[in-house]
């Protein structure tokens, strides 16, 4: 008797969960492979003469940036435009944030325009979740505090896969200021998801305790890696008195990524912006084995894929693209 349910309840279609990209931890391996596949499809459109696709025509993408950004904000904006979405860019300076408006109130205000996607970068962990709670938009995290930067991790996976032909079984060494790096946190989870072994290398105070990955202070181990991923030394965090390291000079001497510390042909990545001569030797940054510009190019197609994926919830087929082009 207890199992009888009203027929109407069964017939009502279930509300599909709103799709966000807030943390790599929310993704499965299948999700990652679908996103990378979609990005490859979009990449194939990049060398056409007319680069714009009508796929997201009529959709509104709001870029809400509470921290400075060049590559992330520009690539999200271009990704949305390439897909024919309308875009609105809000920066914290020069907006009501300057007047002390809370994140919740700003989100409610923007929510009143019914945006389809809000791309948010914020200095505080959990800001994307708050915006997801108070608006109806799909949320894409473009960096929250030191927590997550999921599109960076995805574009890095994409870059590695394009260049090395695979992901599974590779070994990546991440070098530098892991403590303050949201890129490192997203990468650790993303590498785990796709079967990449990951080693974190840096000075003791910049390696968080109980990080779920191998950690070492020995820069020598980077020679064993297939890819050396160099993190930016965040100079604003290295002020005198912080004493994470005695000086940037000493950091460079002991943990800087130089040609001498690499094997010939070893691939090098960096999320940017770089401090040449601090964490990375200019010779390394400019060498043919550096994938840094490829990363930027990957950023565009991966962000196109992310916008497409959260809004449509499925893989993009070549056929679907072609049909869209006709329309």
């Amino acid at each position: 008797m207890n199992s009888i349910r009203l027929v109407n309840d069964d017939l009502r279609p279930p509300e599909p969960p709103r799709r966000h990209l807030i943390s790599i931890a929310d993704l499965t391996r299948d999700d990652v492979e679908r996103l990378l596949g979609t990005a490859r499809t979009f990449e194939s459109t990049l060398d056409r003469q007319v680069k714009k696709l009508p796929t997201l025509k009529g959709h509104l993408v709001v870029n809400l940036f509470y921290e400075s950004s060049t590559r992330t904000s520009s690539s999200f904006e271009l990704a949305a435009k390439r897909l024919s979405a309308d875009t609105m860019n809000i920066k914290s300076s020069g907006s009501s944030v300057d007047k002390g408006e809370s994140l919740k109130d700003t989100a409610l205000t923007l929510g009143a325009y019914d945006p389809d996607v809000i791309v948010i970068r914020h200095p505080e962990i959990g800001a994307p979740q708050l915006v997801a709670r108070v608006t109806e938009a799909h949320i894409v995290n473009a960096g929250d505090g030191k927590n997550q930067h999921p599109t960076q991790a995805l574009l890095d996976l994409y870059t590695i896969q394009q260049d090395l032909g695979r992901l599974d079984g590779l070994h990546v060494a991440i070098v530098g200021d892991v403590l303050h790096s949201r890129v490192a946190r997203s990468l650790v989870q993303a590498f785990d998801l796709v079967g990449i072994r990951c080693t974190l290398v840096g000075p003791p105070a910049l390696l968080p305790r109980e990080m779920p990955a191998e950690t070492t202070t020995d820069i020598g181990v980077i020679r064993d890696a297939d890819v050396v991923y160099v993190l930016r030394m965040q100079q604003e965090r290295m002020q005198a008195g912080a004493n994470y390291v005695p000086s940037l000079r000493e950091y460079t001497a002991r943990w800087g990524v130089t040609p001498e510390r690499l094997r010939p042909g070893q691939k090098v990545m960096h999320p940017g912006p770089m401090n040449r001569g601090v964490e990375i030797d200019p010779l390394v940054a400019d060498s043919a084995d550096a994938l840094i510009e490829t990363q930027v190019r990957s950023g565009l197609v991966v962000r196109m894929a992310v916008l497409y994926d959260v809004l449509t919830g499925g893989p993009v087929g070549v056929q679907a693209l072609a049909a869209a082009e006709v329309a």
Binding site: E124, K146, Q148, P208
Partner: protein, 433 residues
């Protein structure tokens, strides 16, 4: 000194409840009669004498609870809590007495401020309320408060809660001078050069999410310093809201060596670990932070064996808009008065982790003993301070259900077992649930 609103004592009979008063070794089904607010008879059967009779069958009657650590936000933030709302919340939680911390605005560091609070309490307090005064002026850590005058004005103890007494030299002077007042120091132990900027326990969750860590050693190092000073000066200290296994170990060692030190633990540190922070819910953000499972277990062991004598809610009301922000931007603190017994019963007693008698003792006689208060007890001649508990009743913690002016509970939406059916404080029925 404690204050409560003047009220005539009630006449009441609680019939057939299981009377549990651990401090007196009572655990039996008995009748209790209260005449004009004083317990008149405790026996297998008592005459009703025409009093109102409450059927206690299947319920537990215990000495009402004492909370040694609440924030009533008055003066200064009456939008968050007042003496009236905070003591009503206490009554709903089964408390007959609560002690309020002095980190208000202005800070309770003068007899004048304390006197005005006492006047308000005499008008508004539903249950007994006592006040701690600051150790240093403005809790600035530089100058001692006039502890003698504050004690004469009724300060129960001294505390700079919310901030540590940074200087060891100042702490020593405070211990020396407080001895002339007979009042203990209640200490918030935090070495701020280690905890600075930290939002959550420095462990797995902080590493994964990128939170600045607030390590255990930031607490235990200061605990060790203050225990050493207390031992040297031979003065009593009380350690507030302990959170770390190392702090507990230090307290146990010091007590073993004869130091007059006591400790308290909150319901949230007994029930949660930093795993809860994965939700990013600002209502699991508190100082000290939720720590690892080994810390939680150590706190529970210490509560069981009496190293920790008191459960304190550290009831810390915050306005909704202050908590409706990303985790790192939110203030520390959660409410607790109205849920403390129910959550501890549900999560610890009903699961067999803690005997009921121990919980009742640590919520009543234990904290009273530390602060030199008359412990509530169930005995003829004692003032009636009673709580009647329905251990079977399930209820849901809901935003609309609080007497407190604030709703920043970590238990919103949770179902709990065990409800306060009746609270008697100062001889009067102050809550029926």
């Amino acid at each position: 000194m404690l204050w409560i609103k003047e009220r005539p004592g009630d006449d009441l009979v609680v019939r057939g409840a299981r009377v549990v008063d651990p401090a007196q070794g009572i655990d039996a089904v008995l009748d209790v009669r209260v005449d004009k607010g004083t317990i008149a008879a405790v026996a297998e059967t008592v005459d009703a004498n025409g009093h109102r009779v409450v059927d206690g069958a299947g319920l537990v009657l215990a000495p009402a609870f004492v909370d040694p650590h609440v924030h009533l936000r008055t003066p200064g933030r009456e939008d968050e809590e007042t003496l009236a709302s905070g003591t009503a919340a206490a009554a709903a939680g089964g408390y007959c007495a609560i002690l309020a911390m002095p980190n208000t605005d202005p800070i309770v560091d003068s007899a004048a401020t304390l006197g005005s609070l006492a006047d308000t309490a005499k008008r508004e307090a539903e249950v007994h309320v006592g006040f701690l005064a600051a150790i240093t002026r403005g809790q600035g850590g530089d100058e001692l408060t006039e502890m003698g005058e504050l004690a004469d004005a009724g300060a129960v103890a001294f505390s700079d809660d919310g901030v540590p007494v940074v200087s060891a030299g100042m702490m020593r002077r405070a211990l020396q001078y407080a001895s002339t007042t007979g009042r203990p120091l209640a200490l918030h132990c935090e070495e701020r050069t280690l905890s600075k900027g930290g939002h959550v326990h420095e462990g797995r969750v902080a590493a994964e999410f990128g939170f600045a860590g607030y390590p255990s050693v930031a607490e235990s190092l200061m605990v060790e310093r203050d225990l050493s000073l207390a031992a040297y000066e031979e003065q009593p200290i009380h350690l507030l809201h302990l959170s770390a296994a190392e702090s507990v170990a230090a307290l146990r060692r010091a007590r073993g060596a004869g130091v007059r030190a006591s400790g308290e633990v909150t319901p949230h540190h007994l029930c949660l670990t930093d795993d809860a922070v994965r939700s990013l819910d600002p209502n699991v953000k508190m100082n000290p932070p939720l720590r690892a499972e080994r810390d939680r277990t150590a706190l529970l062991d210490a509560l069981r064996d009496g190293t920790i004598e008191a459960i304190a809610t550290d009831h810390a009301p915050h306005a909704r808009y202050e908590k409706d922000v990303p985790f790192e931007a939110a203030p520390f603190g959660v409410t607790g008065l109205e849920t403390a017994f129910a959550v501890l019963y549900t999560r610890l007693v009903a699961t067999g982790a803690l005997p009921l008698a121990t919980l009742l003792e640590r919520m009543s006689a234990g904290p009273a003993r530390i602060f030199g208060l008359d412990a509530p007890r169930i005995a003829a001649g004692a003032p009636a301070n009673l709580v009647l508990l329905d251990l079977e009743r399930e209820w849901r913690v809901e935003e609309g259900g609080f007497r407190s002016r604030s709703q920043n509970s970590w238990l919103l939406g949770e179902s709990l077992t065990g409800k306060v059916a009746l609270t008697v404080a100062g001889g009067a029925v102050v809550h029926e649930g």
